[in-house]
């Protein structure tokens, strides 16, 4: 509450948001420079990003950040001024420095301890770049303090005694060209005390010789004030050098203390939406002529280059995330309400051609449009996430001494903000894995006729209503023999198990599997791919793996566009209502007695157009009922799994296909494998949303049943 009313806290919060944007621009700029870009605007962008962070940090007294950013900025200024050309090592240092600025920003934001030793180390390295410049730099740095604007401030009542100054003031022509105004200066002077102003116009020429803007007048002022001489001089600070100024004191200096002005900290500034919308028709002629690309250099008359012309800023409205959440929730309620309404209209037995039903249809369409629009508000490009990963690659490759190049594709792909946030950890882990385990050492690569530097590719794309994110490395591929050995050694599979390549690859996702036979600086952190899989699943996503010996490994994540809604198929199973994601359902079949074949006791397949598909009874899998004697007459959903295979699920009936609002289940729900989330039905009841692939994986993998049992046992304790 109080925070909301504190304008400083608000600006501080907004500063840290701005920092994130600036850090992104910084990363982009460095990336471009690293790739050989030589557009002067790029280095300007980098410079400005550091500069703006420093400026804001200064305003909030974040000294550690100011100090580091200042030195970084100085180095960037050298580059900008063409006095320094960064080589590959320097670029590496710049990236490190940028990462460190980012660390400092976060430490300041979270009021966490400042990583001082890293600061010192990097500062020393930046100083090396600067060489002799350091000393002048130090002086400058100390200059960067709230040196302020030393104008005199509100003054106490004039005391009888004080100083008397004789002031001679004669403006020169330039004074007028800078927007300074003698009358204003004199008025300010008079405000300091009791002043007698005499105007000496003896130099004023005859009217016919008078040049309109040339100064001819001189003023002589006698000022009786208790202000110090410095304060008097401060009035003329801006016109120093633009006028003849003589100040002589006729009484002892009264001292130099400047009274403090209390700023009312309680002043409320109304929260303002910042709407930036430059008109499309611009700039005017004098503007483009005068624009300078390099502010450090003389303002040139050169028109802006194509690349230097920044695209007109998009209209942007900053809105509190909470308000968006509220809107999302309200739209969710709207969808549920609509479902309830359509259910009661249905029960009322209205004709599908009645006005009410037609109106309902229109209502559904509008609801859907509103929902889509609201979801778009939450969408963000994955770029910021990918940038974080480029840092992970740099750090990881340095730690294991491998040469690694990160290639990103589809940075502009937009994904729900929450998804982006929750992808950071699993992606970090996957990237580390790729660098650590996926890629070979440089000499091995060279020996195998590969390039010295390994490549990790991070790709994002929208594909059939889902977001696909892939992490690919061009390393050696999964050593399946080794994986199998480990799995056997850890008792995850029996030694005589006959597993396909795909099945072996999927062992990586088993809890308890970790290839960290050699514990490196990166892995062996107790986080395995099973954790990655769990976090992806909690986002309603799935992860698959494919690998080719000698060529590399690809992890593919498929995620819903939003965490808020789902196109679902509502089904009945053993008296319960369940929802399955519509996109996994390939077709529905009803079973005849001869369609089902027993493979072995407890394992059945169903014939679908000449092929055999494994058959699972959802009611049994979810523990709702025991095995039935026959599934004949039951309805079967044919679903497709990520690896391209298919499965058949026995259900009791299909209710509906419709959009459902996803309600997250947090960890306190004893969530069983296969339960992705929940939703609220038209009658107010809760239905569980299944992840069928996960339900089947829970059955299909050798330990599936054990996992369920052990989890149940734990929960019972």
């Amino acid at each position: 509450m109080s925070e909301q009313n504190d304008p400083m806290a608000e600006i501080r919060a907004s500063f840290f948001i701005e920092c994130e944007e600036l850090l992104e621009a910084l990363q982009d700029g460095l990336q471009e420079l690293d790739e050989g870009g030589d557009d002067p605007e790029t280095i300007n962008v980098v410079f400005r990003a550091v500069h703006s962070i420093k400026g804001g940090a200064g305003a909030f007294g974040l000294e550690a950040l100011v100090r580091f950013a200042h030195r970084f900025e100085t180095v960037m200024d050298e580059v900008r001024g063409g006095r320094m050309t960064p080589d590959a090592d320097t670029m590496k240092l710049f990236f490190l420095a940028a990462d460190h600025v980012s660390d400092l920003v976060r430490a300041c934001r979270d009021e966490a301890p400042i990583p001082e030793s890293t600061s010192e180390e990097l500062l020393a390295r930046l100083d090396e770049l600067l060489g002799d410049e350091v000393e002048t730099e130090e002086a400058d740095a100390s200059d960067f303090t709230p040196l302020g604007f030393s104008m005199s401030l509100d003054l106490p009542d004039l005391e009888p005694e004080g100083s008397t100054f004789e002031i001679r003031f004669k403006p020169e022509q330039e004074l007028f060209a800078t927007g300074n105004e003698p009358a204003t200066l004199l008025r300010n002077l008079c405000a300091l005390g009791e002043a007698t102003v005499r105007c000496n116009s003896s130099e004023l020429p005859d009217l016919e010789d008078l040049a309109a803007e040339a100064p001819y007048i001189e003023w002589n002022i006698t000022l009786k004030t208790e202000a110090a001489e410095a304060e008097v001089r401060d009035i003329f600070e801006f016109v120093d050098g633009l006028c003849v100024l003589e100040i002589t004191s006729t009484s002892p200096d009264a001292g130099d203390d400047v009274p403090d002005v209390d700023i009312d900290a309680g002043i409320e500034v109304p929260a303002v939406l910042e709407v930036v919308a430059p008109s499309p028709s611009q700039p005017s002629a004098p503007v483009s002529k005068k624009s300078t690309k390099d502010s450090g250099e003389e303002a040139g008359g050169e028109p802006e280059s194509k690349k230097g012309t920044a695209p007109a800023a998009k209209s942007v409205v900053r809105v509190d995330l909470e308000r968006i959440e509220r809107l999302v929730n309200l739209v969710g309620e709207l969808v549920i309400n609509q479902a309830m309404l359509s259910q009661s209209l249905d029960q009322a037995g209205l004709s599908p051609h009645s006005d009410a039903m037609n109106g309902l249809e229109e209502f559904q369409r509008l609801t859907r449009d509103i929902q889509d629009s609201v979801m778009m508000i939450r969408a963000q490009p994955v770029k910021s996430l990918f940038q974080r990963m480029s840092r992970i690659v740099r750090e990881a490759s340095a730690a294991v001494e491998k040469d690694v190049r990160l290639v990103t594709e589809g940075e502009a792909t937009e994904v729900d903000k929450t998804v982006i946030e929750r992808l950071a950890d699993p992606l970090t882990h996957m990237i580390r894995n790729a660098v650590d385990h996926g890629l070979e050492k440089s000499d091995t690569r060279l020996a195998n006729g590969k390039s010295r530097a390994g490549t990790v590719t991070l790709m994002a794309a929208h594909r059939s209503g889902r977001v696909i994110i892939e992490v690919t490395d061009d390393g050696a591929g999964i050593n399946r023999e080794r994986v199998f050995e480990i799995a056997v050694a850890k008792g995850l599979v029996p030694p005589d198990a006959q597993l396909s390549d795909g099945e072996i690859d999927n062992l990586l996702f088993l809890p308890g599997f970790s290839t960290a036979s050699q514990v490196s600086a990166l892995s062996g952190r107790g986080v395995g791919m099973d954790v990655v899989k769990t976090s992806i699943q909690s986002l309603g996503g799935r992860i698959t793996i494919s690998s080719e010996a000698g060529k590399g490994t690809k992890f593919s994540i498929s995620l819903p566009l939003t965490l808020a809604v789902l196109d679902g198929m509502v089904v009945n199973v053993a008296g319960e209502t369940l929802v399955l994601p519509l996109n996994v359902v390939v077709e529905t079949l009803s079973l005849g007695p001869e369609d089902v074949q027993m493979l072995r006791p407890g394992a059945y397949v169903v014939r679908v157009r000449g092929g055999f598909v494994p058959l699972y009874d959802l009611g049994v899998m979810l523990g709702y009922r025991a095995h039935r004697k026959t599934d004949a007459g039951a309805i079967v959903l044919l679903i497709s799994l990520d690896d391209g295979s298919r499965a058949a699920l026995v259900i009791d009936g299909i209710q509906d296909q419709r959009q459902v609002v996803i309600k997250g289940l947090d960890d306190s729900f004893y969530r069983a494998p296969g339960i992705a989330a929940a939703t609220i039905l038209g009658d107010g009841q809760i239905a569980l949303i299944l992840d069928p692939a996960d339900v089947i994986a829970g059955m299909g993998n050798p330990r599936g049943a054990d996992i369920m049992l052990s989890e149940r046992k734990i929960a019972n304790e």
């Binding site: 929730n329 523990g623 709702y624 729900f669 969530r671 989890e711 929960a715």
Partner: protein
């Protein structure tokens, strides 16, 4: 309410579970709502009745009788769900019926006898006597298991 020792005042919500009287500090109670059908969670422990819709959020509901290893009756319309908040998380507790709200002081509380083998008592924080009836004051944090730790 008496005007003495205000800081020690304690209000208890008393309710019946399997014909026994229990109570909870009213400060942890968010609301009381009538019984509605729960949606069962697959493979959950048997004291988890499932989840219900509490004004648009998913509320897990625990059968308090089963949780306390007491005989559990069939649910009927008089059953209620006490919605409690523990460490920011809402949980529903299914009980037979709510009886009363009583004000007592800390002095009225007695430590339960040290019979640690009795699983029921491990969740009972204190005992008190009101109108000659013994009322067990539940330790909510022991009743509502910290599942996020266990399940992880």
């Amino acid at each position: 309410m008496s005007d003495q020792g205000q800081t020690n005042d304690l209000e208890l919500l008393t309710f019946r579970v399997a014909d026994q009287e229990y109570s909870l500090d009213i400060m942890s109670v968010r609301e009381i709502r009538g019984w509605t059908r729960t949606t069962p969670m697959p493979h959950a422990p048997d004291f988890m009745r499932g989840v219900i819709n509490l004004r648009g959020t998913v509320l897990p509901v625990m059968d308090l009788a089963r949780r306390l290893n007491l005989p559990s009756h069939e649910t009927n319309d008089r059953n209620v769900i006490i919605v409690v908040k523990l460490q920011g998380t809402l949980t529903g507790l299914l009980v037979d019926a709510v009886s009363d709200i009583v004000a007592i002081t800390e002095d009225d509380l007695q430590a339960p006898p040290d019979i640690s083998s009795d699983p029921q008592l491990s969740v009972v924080r204190a005992l008190t006597v009101i109108d000659d009836r013994m009322i067990r004051v539940l330790d909510l944090s022991a009743v509502v298991p910290n599942t996020s730790d266990e399940a992880a």
